[in-house]
Every structure is written in C-alpha cells, then in structure tokens.
C-alpha cells in the first residue's frame, strides 16, 4: 500500500502554486467580475498555457491522481477560467490539443465560464455534444463566472459512448471536489490569519475558545475530505470498478466540507467577512457556485446504490 504524493506531484503542485500566487491574486479574481479588466484574465490563461496545463493529460502525461493537487491549487486561487473543464474533461474526451478553452453545460443549460470559452460541451447520460458558446448572459452570485445559458443541443451527439462519457463526467466531478478542497484551505488560511490579528477585548479573537472550536471543526472536516478525493482519483485513473462509489464519496465529502468552511470563515471574520471589500467573499462565492454544479443528490443516490441500499421508494 502507498498513499502519499510523489516528489514529482509535490513539485508540480508547488510550481502551480508559485505561478498562481503571482498570476492569480485576489485582484485578478476581482478583475473577472463584471466591469473588470478582462485582459488580466487572459494574461492568467497565457501563464497557464506556458505551464503546459491545458494539455496536461496528453502533453505532460498527467493522470487523474497527478491532477488532484493541481486542481486543489486552481481552487485555492479561485482561477476564474474553465480549467478543470478543459484539462480533465474536454481534452481527454475530445482529444483536444493546444490551448482550446471548453466550458461544460449543466443539465439545465447553465454554462459557467461560457463567455470565456471557445466551445461548450454537453454531457447527458452516455452522450456528448459540442456547441458554440452562444447563449444569453446570466447574472451569478459569484460574479467571476462569466456564465451563459445555452439551448439544449439538437442533432446526433458527437460521442455516444456511455463508458467514455461517464469517465468524463466523473473527472469533472472529481476536479470540482479537488477545487473545493483548495477553496476550503484558502478560506481557512485567510480566517486563521485574520483571527490571529484581529483584537477585541484587548486580545486576538482567535484566542477565544468559541472561535478556536469553530475553526478546529472546519479543519477536521476539510482534512478528512481531502484523502477521499485522492483515493477516488486513484480508482478513476485505474478504471477500477469501485470508481463510481469513490468519486461520489469524494464529491459528498468535499462539497460539505467546503460549505462548512465557508460558513465558519464568514462567521469568524465577523462583519468584515460580510462585505465585498474584503477578499473572503471571492472564495466563498466560488465554493458555493462549484458545489451547486455538483448534483450531490445524484452522488448520494449512486453511493447508496453502490452500497446496495436502494431507497424505500425505489
């Protein structure tokens, strides 16, 4: 048995983090909101291309496990681009090469980052369609999503292969789970730093037990989700029969952990956490947005089925 990151995986994670610390600080996430300077977001994409990321699976030969730390960092920085969708879903499914940007539509036609993509991928059961990003802009809570709503594709699918399309859907779910772990770590780091500095009653608020216990619980929930994401990636990379169960487990743990951390982070910041001037909301809103696309009900149902526990109604 072996369940750690390799030296290469650690090194690549650090390279991604170094790059994103420079290329995707909060100011760049803000620039992706309406009225911001979109060229800043384009520069970020250029940096990711230079790192070889869009073509990571074919070009760099990274598998699902290698990509977990990468997507955690994408989440940590709240990169406002369809990185998971392009790298983990479209590139391996469609054999894309080069820096194409592909967004993925949800079942009801909502496409996060649709305005920043060259193509929209639709996944529905065992089939996949590709369409142009033509649709109407829709307002979102996380203003950096550049979301559009598109009509359902008509005509025959581009790919009609339940196994391949199913794997693509699982890679998307897993990539989102990894992003949520990263987002959770970002919010926790910000909160820990804040409560160490912020003083009330003459002492740092982080010295109060009520605050400590909130943050300890958030940390525990997050750190018990992270290995499940890693394990699911391993099952998926090996095309193991339990991969569906493990991906669903990872999604459930990661969405709940990120949701918990977001609430805790805002609460422990106090009023400043309830503003848009402070950066925390950029990460909390992204976590809510990503979690909302995860269809946790479907994952709960799949997990129940894998555990041979069908519903009374089923």
């Amino acid at each position: 048995m072996r369940f750690g990151w390799t030296a290469d995986q650690v090194a690549f994670r650090e390279a991604v983090r170094d790059l994103l610390t420079r290329a995707c600080p909060p100011a760049v996430v803000r620039a992706a909101w309406p009225g911001g300077d979109e060229s800043t977001v384009e520069s970020l994409w250029t940096s990711l291309v230079e790192l070889g990321l869009p073509d990571a699976t074919a070009g760099l030969g990274l598998d699902e496990v290698d990509l977990v730390p990468v997507f955690e960092e994408i989440g940590y920085a709240a990169v406002p681009l369809p990185v998971v969708e392009t790298v983990a879903v479209a590139a391996p499914l469609l054999g894309l090469e080069g820096p194409t940007r592909v967004a993925v539509a949800s079942a009801d036609g909502l496409v996060p980052y649709g305005r920043r993509a060259s193509h929209v991928l639709h996944l529905d059961g065992g089939a996949a369609w590709l369409s142009a990003p033509q649709g109407v802009d829709v307002p979102t809570v996380d203003g950096s999503r550049a979301a559009i709503r598109v009509p359902k594709p008509t005509g025959p699918p581009l790919i009609d292969d339940p196994v391949r399309v199913g794997l693509a859907a699982d890679r998307l779910a897993l990539g989102n789970a990894a992003q949520l772990v990263g987002l959770g770590r970002r919010m926790l780091d910000m909160t820990v730093a804040y409560v160490r500095e912020r003083k009330q009653f003459g002492v740092p608020v982080g010295s109060f037990q009520a605050v400590k216990h909130h943050l300890a619980d958030a940390l525990v929930q997050l750190e018990f989700a992270a290995p499940a994401v890693h394990a699911a990636a391993w099952a998926l990379a090996g095309r193991r029969p339990e991969r569906g169960r493990d991906v669903s487990a990872a999604v459930l743990l990661a969405t709940e952990a990120a949701g918990r951390v977001a609430r805790t982070a805002i609460q422990c910041h106090g009023a400043i956490g309830y503003t848009v001037e402070y950066d925390l909301h950029l990460y909390a809103k992204r976590a809510w947005a990503v979690a909302a696309t995860c269809d946790t009900d479907a994952h709960l149902a799949r997990l129940a089925e894998a555990l041979d526990l069908k519903g009374a109604a089923a």
Partner: protein, 381 residues
C-alpha cells in the same frame, strides 16, 4: 512511489493468513461484555488464544510475542479482526497505551519483564490518570509519591477514578506527584503498580451502560521500588503525553472497527426497508467510516515517511469519536421502537457516548487542534 491502495503480495498473504485464522477461531457467539467480571474472564481466555497463535500484538518485535508487522499489516490485521466480528480487546490499555510508552521510555529490563506478560494477557493493565479533581485538567493530579530512601523506592497515596476495567485488571500505570514544590506539569512521575500491592483498594462501579466497567483505586502508603518508575522521576508529564498520542490517534482506534460497524449498519438498513431519511443517514455513516479509513491511510503513509503525528492525533480523535456516535444513532433510528431494547446496538450507542469524553474531552481536543495545528494564540476565555 505512486499511489496504490491495494495490498502488495506479502500484505495479501498476511491478510489471507489472518483471515483464515480468525474465521476458524473467532467465537461463533459474541462473548458477554468484557466490562463485567464474567465477561472479562472470557475475554482474557480469548486474548490468550490470540497470543498462542501470535496474533495478540502483531506489530511488536517477535521476541516479545509479536510478528514485526509493518503499520500497513497492522491496519490489515485490524480490518480483518473487526470484519470477522472478533471480541473487543480488553488488553487494549496495556498493549496500545502502556506498551508504546515502554518501547519509547522503558529500560531494557522493564521491556523484557513486562511486554511478554502483557502480550500473553498474563498481566492486565489499566490506566491510572484521572482523579476526582483531575479530569480534563490532568496536570491537577493530587495523588502523591513520597521518597523512601531507605527502602529504595516511593510510597504512593491518593485516589484514581473512572479507571476502565480497574476492578478486573492486575496492574495499573499511573501518574503521581513526586515534587509538590515544582510547577504543575513538572514534579509528576509515571509509576507501574501491581493492584495486589499492600495498601491498594479497588472498588468497581457502573458506567452509563450499567456494567462494572469503571473503578476507583485508592492508594494508602503503597510501596513501589525505583525499578518500577517509567521514564525518570519528574518526567511523568512528558512520558504520559507520548501515551496520549497513541490513545487519541492511530493505535487505539483503527479504521477497521468503524468500517465493520458501518457495514453492520448497512446490513441492518437493508434488512429493515428504511425510509429515505434513514437510508441517507446510513449512507452518511458509511461515508464517515470511509473518510476515516482514508485519512488513517494517509497518516500511516506520512508516519512511514518520518512525519510524527503530533497534535494531528487530536484530529483523529475528534473524527472517530463523533463518527462512532453517528453510526449508532443511525442504527437506533432505523430500529425504531426496538431501539429501547437492550441489544448490541443500544449498548454500542451508550458506549459510543464515552468516546467524545475519554482520552481528553473533545472540547480539549478542539483547543489542541486550534492552537497546535492551526497556530491560534493560547489562552483566552
């Protein structure tokens, strides 16, 4: 090396050997509770069979009765042990709490004398830490040990309480104050004491489940020779904290037992046609056990890479203790009106409520995690 969650060839052989032995030897009928006098004796018989087949302390060196098993193999054994429905380990306070301390701080003579007898369930150890006025605030210990230079040892006086299985064990390891003038955390010393020593009185009493699983232990001028001090006079706190890491983290709470409990819960749910809500609870309980398993595997991997668990063991403790309550609450929910019957599930539920309290309450653990893992400032209200 890259991730691989499957057994290696030798791990698979180890698993197969453990499984085969357990299948042939685990009692078909569950033993009576090990927290009653009769049940304890039955459990000790079981422990001796385990030892004869060299399964009682697989991770220990062979010379003390073990198999030199790796941490991975130890986890495999635990998984198989609980999946087979094997009895609770009434020797656990010795083999999982005292033994790691002996390996780290004991003299060679102490190890040679104590470990084989512990592995064979000849000596049965309980933990003498808590006192009426020293629970979460363990450093508030008032029991004393006074120097007897002439006799070459110490004279112990005071009271320990909430001592698990103290009424049935043969020995106690405990902390006593040897230097009343020193600061609270200093001046404590770790002693090893036979419970039949003159001056020791033990009274068992009922835990929440009614079993006589707790005891009070009084010491009245009990003589303990210098040879039975573990880790140096005045070093008790440091030595005891090493044991705490074992108690909270990995060694006492292997994922195997929670996975087995979650599997029993799923089986219960399948048999009962649960509602959607109950089904979801069962699935989430399994999910928690799985998360704990994977977190533990990650921890073991880090340990083997030389990363000490430190305060992270408090994170394990928070997670498994609440998970255990969740699993049992889900089961009682599914059982409906039958939940009030005296069954393994209702007993398991009552027992699970001890988890968030013993080995340092979860309130203490949250503070430890916040201060030592997250780096928040100490003190405060």
């Amino acid at each position: 090396m890259t991730t691989d969650l499957t057994d290696t060839g030798s791990e698979a052989e180890f698993r197969a050997e453990a499984r085969a032995w357990l299948r042939a030897n685990v009692p078909a009928e569950p033993l009576p509770s090990g927290d009653t006098r009769e049940g304890f004796a039955r459990h000790v018989e079981w422990e001796r069979r385990l030892h004869e087949a060299r399964w009682s302390v697989v991770s220990w060196p062979e010379r003390y009765g073990g198999r030199d098993a790796s941490l991975w193999e130890w986890l495999i054994f635990e998984e198989e042990y609980y999946a087979a429905g094997a009895p609770q380990r009434v020797t656990q306070n010795g083999i999982f709490l005292l033994a790691p301390t002996l390996f780290e701080f004991g003299t060679e003579a102490q190890r040679d004398q104590l470990l084989p007898r512990m592995a064979a369930a000849e000596d049965l150890w309980c933990q003498g830490w808590s006192e009426p006025e020293a629970g979460s605030d363990l450093a508030g210990i008032r029991s004393t040990a006074v120097r007897d230079e002439e006799a070459g040892g110490w004279r112990l006086s005071g009271q320990k309480t909430w001592t698990t299985r103290g009424a049935f064990c043969t020995h106690v390891f405990g902390l006593f104050r040897t230097d009343p003038a020193a600061a609270r955390h200093r001046g404590l010393t770790y002693f090893l004491v036979p419970l039949d020593a003159p001056g020791v009185t033990v009274r068992g009493f009922g835990r929440l489940d009614g079993d006589e699983g707790f005891a009070e232990v009084w010491f009245s001028d009990v003589f303990v020779p210098d040879a039975d001090v573990l880790g140096g006079v005045g070093e008790g706190w440091r030595v005891a904290m090493a044991t705490t890491g074992s108690e909270r983290g990995l060694t006492l709470r292997s994922p195997g037992r929670f996975l087995a409990a979650a599997d029993r819960l799923l089986a219960l749910a399948r048999a009962q046609a649960p509602s959607e809500r109950q089904r979801e609870r069962a699935v989430r309980a399994w999910l928690g056990a799985r998360a704990y398993q994977l977190y533990t595997l990650r921890d073991v991997d880090a340990l083997l890479d030389g990363v000490p668990p430190g305060a992270r063991s408090s994170m394990n403790k928070l997670f498994w203790s609440e998970l255990d309550v969740d699993i049992h609450e889900a089961a009682l929910d599914i059982l409906g009106p039958s939940a009030e019957l005296d069954t393994a599930w209702s007993r398991g539920f009552l027992f699970s409520l001890s988890g968030p309290i013993y080995a340092g309450t979860n309130e203490i653990q949250r503070t430890v995690v916040a201060e030592r893992v997250l780096g928040l400032p100490r003190g405060g209200a």
